[in-house]
């Protein structure tokens, strides 16, 4: 291909953090194309993206942007050159308003004073682009859920003029309607000649949006395909480097007695009168749009948020859960969705993070810790969940996003609760590891544990769950059993509360 046709040309890029992360990585991007980047967790996708946008320097190799060398010293320099990126990890400033977050480095001002009305006007426009038109731009960003924060970050990036747009797992916390809206916008940008690098683990959406797909493995580009030429299975094979084992079909598990029963649970504005039961040996899924209150429901059950009403029964007995410790005593565990805020101790090692809530098991007399035993357990989970790291002593903050997620999962698997609530357990996890996760969840259910999974990926829920609840506007709007459900029915149920509400709140 002619050199000039390429907006971005990367040759033999090198980068290493103690160990090599990028090895002779070559890549090209044309203007007006969506070029997807796939690879297992830790393959080096985010690292490449970070080099492009000036967050970390490369050790060797060359990048040319429209024919000119591109080696930005800072994110600001990259933005000047027209390279805009949405990071994989959320970087929202909780105490600032949504509007301030979107326009943080270009606040409209006169003589140093922020022009609030102009700011809010532009923010509203930017928010409308990602479907958050109703959101008050003055809302503190910290009050939003992960999904909304992700949308706010997207709104910020999409409101800029750019030549290259890099999206690093933008949809990991989004549900289908938001993804559709995002894709609509990306198609528009593509027509305007913007080159888009799109990192994701969701093969279906990659097939839909990407023109070309590059597969990364261990810091190298192993193949680049036209999107129409490949099947997801083939991509996965290339990512992993070998054939994936045949995945086990839905094995029938006998549903046991009711393990958890929630009646008329209410909490804050987001959870209204939620009732459901969960049986031993069952995997129950909850679907819903962002902001439908799924996270808040789990948090309320777990005692992480204050309940305003409702009762919880474990094994038929009423339990009072005022804080997470109560929940744990009752045998309930919650894997939170926001790994950075609520899950991980970033500067601490994988070992410390994994054993955090099982620590007493490793204590000998006097609370003395047996670090050797800790290490062995952690190592076992590392292998089981395919956490790619240098050693279990590596700081979690140095891991790739997906691997961080696996550490949180490992912690809860180690805890061995009888009732497990998973909030977006596969957020950012690669395809192969997802399969492993599903196996693990099925195994847990097989052992007679009660498993509740909240996910934004409908397909995941449909392939995993024995039963499915749909939430909308804080209420449970439908319940499905396998065979009953279709994508369309679920989506309609997810929107149901919205339709009613629209009529209520906009009488005019």
């Amino acid at each position: 291909m002619a050199e000039a046709a390429h907006l971005l040309q990367v040759t033999r890029l090198q980068k290493s953090y103690n160990v090599p992360v990028l090895l002779d990585f070559s890549f090209s991007l044309r203007s007006g194309e969506v070029h997807a980047l796939v690879g297992s967790n830790g393959a080096g996708k985010s690292t490449f993206a970070k080099i492009l946008c000036g967050l970390t320097p490369a050790d060797g190799g060359e990048i040319r942007l429209a024919g000119l060398p591109h080696a930005p010293a800072s994110k600001r320099a990259a933005e000047h050159a027209g390279v805009i990126m949405v990071l994989q990890e959320l970087n929202v400033i909780g105490t600032l308003s949504v509007a301030e977050n979107i326009f943080l480095n270009r606040l409209p001002c006169r003589a140093g004073f922020v022009q609030r009305s102009r700011l809010h006007e532009s923010a509203r426009a930017a928010l409308a682009r990602v479907g958050l038109g109703d959101l008050d731009p003055a809302t503190p960003a910290g009050a939003l859920g992960v999904g909304h924060q992700q949308l706010v970050e997207l709104a910020g990036a999409l409101s800029r003029n750019c030549r290259v747009l890099i999206l690093d797992e933008p949809t990991a916390a989004l549900t289908d309607p938001e993804i559709e809206r995002l894709f609509g916008h990306l198609r528009k940008l593509r027509q305007e000649g913007v080159g888009i690098i799109y990192v994701s683990h969701r093969m279906d959406e990659i097939k839909r949006i990407a023109d070309r797909i590059t597969v990364m493995r261990d810091g190298r580009a192993v193949a680049t395909h036209l999107s129409v030429d490949v099947t997801p299975d083939c991509l996965v094979r290339e990512m992993v480097g070998h054939e994936l084992p045949e995945r086990g079909g839905l094995s029938e598990r006998p549903a046991g007695p009711v393990a958890l029963s929630v009646r008329n649970l209410s909490a804050g504005d987001q959870v209204r009168d939620v009732s459901f039961t969960l049986r031993q040996g069952e995997i129950l899924g909850i679907a819903g749009l962002i902001g439908s209150g799924r996270t808040e429901t789990l948090r309320a059950i777990f005692g992480a948020d204050v309940k305003s009403g409702g009762e919880t029964f474990v094994d038929g007995k009423a339990v009072k859960i005022l804080c997470p410790t109560d929940a744990l005593l009752a045998g309930i565990g919650l894997m939170p969705e926001d790994r950075k805020q609520d899950g991980l101790l970033m500067p601490q090692s994988i070992r410390v993070n994994t054993t955090l809530n099982t620590l007493v098991r490793y204590a000998r007399a006097g609370g003395w810790l047996d670090t050797g035993a800790e290490e062995r357990t952690t190592e076992a989970y590392r292998q089981r969940l395919q956490i790619s790291c240098n050693s279990v002593e590596q700081a979690v903050g140095e891991l790739s996003g997906g691997n961080q997620q696996k550490v949180v999962v490992a912690r809860w698997l180690a805890r061995d609760c009888r009732i497990l609530l998973f909030d977006e357990p596969t957020r950012g996890i690669d395809v192969a590891a997802k399969q492993t996760m599903y196996e693990l969840l099925r195994e847990l259910a097989g052992e007679g544990k009660a498993v509740l999974v909240v996910s934004s990926e409908l397909e995941e829920l449909m392939s995993l769950c024995d039963r499915l609840l749909v939430m909308s506007q804080g209420c449970i709007s439908a319940e499905f059993t396998p065979g009953e459900w279709t994508q369309e029915k679920i989506t309609r149920a997810a929107f149901s509360g919205h339709l009613d509400r629209k009529v209520e709140s906009h009488p005019s």
Partner: protein, 335 residues
């Protein structure tokens, strides 16, 4: 709107706590509830108030400055030297006092930000150094200055309060406006909340942080001038322990030591509470031990009341929200 009214509720709550304290002392001493007391109070607080205003900004970015007491002493010492020994005019002396504060603050900022070491340590070093220099320049001598320096703290006839107090009010209002309305102020809040996110947004946080320390230095210099002017003397020992009072005032006003949250107006109420407590206890003639115990209790109780109020309005607000609007009002940030 909601945001604004929420802020007003916060101010009102602090005001109520302060009024409670005033009433308490009013009951204990008949002569406390007099115009005199309030005028004395108004003329007493400028030095602490301007420093606490600057300290608010420093705490908002998650920094700390322990050197304010010493720098106030140094600034006052220089003013005294300039007026008494070098016979310079008042405004030159004032500029010198402000200048030395600015230099000390800028140094604090440059060293801690530039070398990446905690501001706690840098300003602790500056605490010792500034005090040492103040002793050196004055030979540890108190200097009586007299009328030349007294007018900024003397009540304006017909008004009752002093020019220094008016300047203080100006500083407080300006500080609050800067914090909540300017780009600089928003950056401060952002840096205090999540500095790495701000850096990721492509903003160079270093100059912003240095500027905050410099600003506090300047205000500390101003505090030194006010202090000297109120006492009519310059005292190289001035301000010993002031850092704790200033930080306490800020924290009583609800600013977090962890950064990311703060209000200059509430800091002013914090200063008022501390000053009223001191004045009231002296008026009642409490013994030193009693004074200590009561001061300790009141500080804690004031903050407990404030926390409790937060809790209450938090609830009420979520009620209001449900009743009147579909849009969620600003909830408390996830801490």
């Amino acid at each position: 709107m909601t945001l604004k009214s929420k802020k007003l509720v916060e101010y009102a709550a602090m005001l109520v706590i302060w009024l409670g304290l005033v009433l308490l002392f009013g009951m204990l001493s008949q002569s406390f509830l007099s115009l005199r007391t309030f005028v004395t109070l108004a003329n007493r607080i400028p030095a602490l108030a301007v420093i606490a205003a600057g300290m608010t900004l420093v705490l908002v970015i998650g920094g700390i400055d322990l050197s304010v007491g010493s720098v106030l002493g140094l600034s006052g010492a220089l003013v005294g030297l300039a007026l008494v020994n070098w016979h310079l005019p008042f405004w030159v002396a004032t500029l010198l006092g402000l200048g030395v504060g600015l230099v000390a603050g800028t140094l604090n900022g440059l060293v801690s930000v530039g070398l990446g070491i905690p501001s706690f340590i840098v300003s602790l070093g500056m605490l010792e150094i500034a005090r040492g220099v103040a002793y050196l320049t004055t030979h540890s001598q108190t200097k009586y200055i007299g009328a030349t320096v007294e007018w900024p703290s003397a009540p304006i006839p017909g008004l009752g309060v002093s020019p220094a107090f008016l300047i203080t009010l100006l500083v407080i209002v300006a500080g609050q406006v800067v914090l909540s309305r300017t780009v600089f102020g928003r950056y401060l809040v952002a840096i205090g909340t999540n500095e790495s996110a701000v850096r990721l947004a492509g903003i160079n946080t270093k100059p912003v942080k240095v500027a905050v320390f410099a600003l506090l230095g300047l205000l500390t210099g101003l505090g030194g001038v006010f202090y000297t002017s109120r006492l009519g003397s310059s005292d190289p020992n001035a301000g010993v322990g002031l850092e704790l009072s200033a930080i306490a005032a800020v924290v009583i006003g609800g600013t977090s030591l962890m950064g990311g949250r703060g209000s200059v107006v509430n800091t002013f109420f914090g200063v008022l509470i501390i000053a009223t407590l001191e004045a009231g206890l002296a008026q009642v003639g409490a013994s030193e031990p009693t004074k200590r115990v009561i001061t300790g209790l009141v500080i804690v109780v004031a903050v407990v009341l404030d926390a409790w109020r937060h809790h209450l309005t938090g609830r009420k607000f979520s009620l209001l929200k449900r009743l009147f609007t579909a849009r969620p009002a600003s909830g408390t940030p996830i801490s």
